[in-house]
Point group: C2
Chain length 95, copies 2
Amino acid sequence: MFGLIGCMRAAEGRRDELLAILSAQIGEMPGCKSYVIAADARDADAIWITEVWDSEADHKASLALPHVQATIAMARPLIAGFDSHVITRPVGGVI
Amino acid sequence: MFGLIGCMRAAEGRRDELLAILSAQIGEMPGCKSYVIAADARDADAIWITEVWDSEADHKASLALPHVQATIAMARPLIAGFDSHVITRPVGGVI
């Protein structure tokens, strides 16, 4: 499996708007086993996205899906930056 | 929902052993919607655990479950430390 853990920063005061955009059009993403969009409970502008995919190729392919492209386009103006980006190899748990 | 994103460090050279212990006895954890155990792809000693629970209370209750207590006891000697611990509020995605 292939995993990602990333933290992005919303433009000041616009996190809820960004969270709504990110979670509105999740739709079908082949090979996606987990895709969690979450607000940081302590940092008012931080959003965490944690992902598990069957393979890195599945993740790459998802970025070309029309609904994912549309979401990225809508979200981009509300993203102030990216704090951390970790690549992982999920091994187990409740997935 | 209640979420956690944490990074722990395995004792040097013993990450695979620790990963095996952590993922061996997952069992039933009421209220657990996602519990991903993953190796950091670039840092040889780092393990990431990302969790989504129906509530913070469900997460707290899980720590008293016998199989969770047993896992913690087995894992503790192989844990060198904890790097990061983020509390989140999951809002959507593929969970």
